[in-house]
């Protein structure tokens, strides 16, 4: 593996933070025996995983192994896919998120998601951010909304680039800016967990670096689960890494350990580039 061409200044930061979270880590989300079926075909064969509060966990694995599927189980986005069935237990703070009494709207306000392909609403930049807070009644007066919009855009590192054009359509931004807009949109509703599905797959190294830095900063206040195909990225930003293979989670552990001393042969083969 070659080292990444872009040096990410926050790599050190991550290592520092990890030792704290490691000691006082509280399980934020946990899954037990999660199986997912698309019609008759099974995409996940029973996943047991704990996600610790204020930690960044990366899901890696070859294409089609079920990373996105698993990510979607965590805020029930799979519900929106016709023919998709989820079995097993998923909890958030110890509460079953598939319980019939649970309201998915509330769940998704707590567990936000950023998709692989940037999908801003075809509305103004301002409206993109203001939509969530207004929807959940978190802010209603213009002044409050203005503040939320600015704060979210600042955190996503987009404020300086767009502060003079908040009324322009979100779709007029570049791909990387759109992705940061989507992240800002998710932060605006202050979720506790943020799910990200390959957030940098369409971005150039500079935009990628910005988002990685953002993820690192966000991990101070949020729990983040991200899917990535870029192993340097996982190494740079994730405290923990989980390796998926053909619908199973083969191995999970500290990122350093997964990348330097994996227990499973398949993990080893994957990270050394023998397949995937």
């Amino acid at each position: 593996m070659t080292t990444a061409t872009v040096t990410v200044p926050t790599a050190m930061h991550k290592s520092e933070q990890r030792s704290d979270s490691h000691q006082q880590g509280q399980v934020k989300m946990s899954t037990r025996g999660v199986k997912v079926f698309y019609g008759d075909s099974q995409a996940l064969h029973g996943i047991d995983l704990d996600i610790v509060e204020n930690e960044v966990i990366a899901f890696i694995g070859p294409s089609g192994c079920g990373k996105s599927t698993f990510l979607r189980c965590l805020n029930r986005m799979n519900d929106t896919i016709p023919g998709c069935r989820v079995e097993g237990d998923v909890t958030l703070d110890g509460n079953d998120i598939y319980a019939p009494s649970l309201d998915v709207v509330l769940l998704r306000a707590q567990v936000g998601i950023v998709f692989q392909k940037p999908n801003p609403f075809p509305k103004s930049i301002y409206e993109n951010i203001a939509y969530g807070p207004r929807l959940h009644g978190l802010a209603s007066r213009r002044a409050e909304l203005d503040e939320v919009v600015e704060r979210s855009l600042r955190r996503a590192g987009l404020w300086d680039e767009v502060k003079d054009r908040l009324d322009q359509p979100g779709t007029s931004l570049s791909g990387g800016q759109q992705q940061r807009l989507c992240i800002a949109r998710t932060i605006a509703i202050s979720p506790e967990v943020i799910l990200m599905d390959e957030p940098c797959s369409a971005l150039d190294p500079i935009a990628t670096a910005k988002i990685e830095q953002l993820i690192d900063e966000l991990s101070a206040s949020y729990t983040i689960a991200m899917v990535t195909h870029n192993m340097q990225q996982a190494a740079r930003v994730a405290h923990k890494t989980a390796f998926f293979h053909m619908g199973d989670m083969v191995e999970v552990g500290d990122t350093d350990k997964i990348f330097t001393n994996p227990e499973d042969q398949r993990t080893h083969d994957y990270i050394t580039g023998r397949f995937g």
Partner: protein, 452 residues
Amino acid sequence: MNTITQASRGERLAIIERSLASRHRQEKRFRRLGLAAVVTGMVLVLILFASILMRGLPAFWQATFYLDIHFDSDIVNVSERPIQQEGESNADFRERDFTWQSEVGRVNWQQLIDNALAEALGEEIEPQQTRDLRALVTSAERRTLRDRFIEDQSLLGETHTIKLLASANVDVWIKGNINRDLPDSQQQLSAQTREWADHLYEEGVITNAFSTALFLNTDSRSSLASAGLAGAFMGSLFMMLIVMLLSIPIGVASAIYLEEFAPKNRLTDLIEININNLAAVPSIVFGLLGAAIFIGYLRLPLSAPLVGGLVLTLMTLPTIIIATRAALRSIPNSIRQAALGMGASKVQTVFHHVLPLALPGILTGSILGVAQALGETAPLLLIGMNAFVSNIPATPFDQASALPVQIYLWQGNELRNFFEARTSAAIIVLLALMLSLNALAIWLRKKLETRW
């Protein structure tokens, strides 16, 4: 193995080049075919429009008399119009006024016209010539004089130039829509009338004036020259209102439900198939259905725009549902995912994001559906909308005709050489209405379209 991968670089390029030539040829052929198809279509449409315009436009101008009518007080010999007395109830007053109006109606208005014509011709009219004379002005114009007098009694004893429509046959004769060399036996007007008409046309008493009758009058059987489209137009208008008010909300709502909310199962598949089939059902079948349900079972009035509107609503619904579903389906799923991921409920997702984006498509589809209904004739014949109606309908419950039905009726009128042009004129009015509806659809689409 002698595969392409083993060929030398030159050979490989040669092979690709050869295939290139054929690919280019294919492309050119397709482009030419497409262009030819478009040009053919355009030419046909142009021919259609040109022929309709050429035939119909002259009918917007109609042979019209400008006659100096003397409101002779010997002939118009009526009492004073009643004035409402103090203490008299409105009903009583109206009763007296009505009696007066009937008295005015009994005046021999025709005599005024006859006199004015004799004056214009500068001839003594023999009693046996009266028939020929009365063939000049269309019969309904007696009532025009009466109405003018009821409006303004100060006309009494005065002479006024008044616009009166020439009879349909005079119009045909003046415009040359009948062969002037035909023998008397085959002419529609007597030799005397024709001579008079020509004379008056030269004198400028008869001119081709813009025909307001075409727009303001209802259909007429006794006085063909004054047959107009107002009744049919109002009938069509009422029907369009009913169709829009019913089919757009119902159609759009069902499409939203089917596309965004309904579970995918056998039942919804069946519904979908049925809707698609309904869109292909001949419109006359909807007419039969409407006659059976609305008239036979619900006892709604025959020939009423209400029933016509309901039948056309049934016919338009599948079109609108299909167009709306297509518009909804064209909205990328990523938008729905984005909204749902933000914690929007399904209804919020649809109403905040999907519907606004699909709106231009929905409106276009709906308006085109309504425009299609506007031109529909067959189902209306089955619910009696081809009945002759001489009043402009005031409500959707009154008897009425409709524009396409009026076209059909005029097309079948025996006085071919007068109604041929009038039919085309009615077609022009209908087409103008449809084109404006389509223009509205395009305008709405442009206005509402969100740039991505």
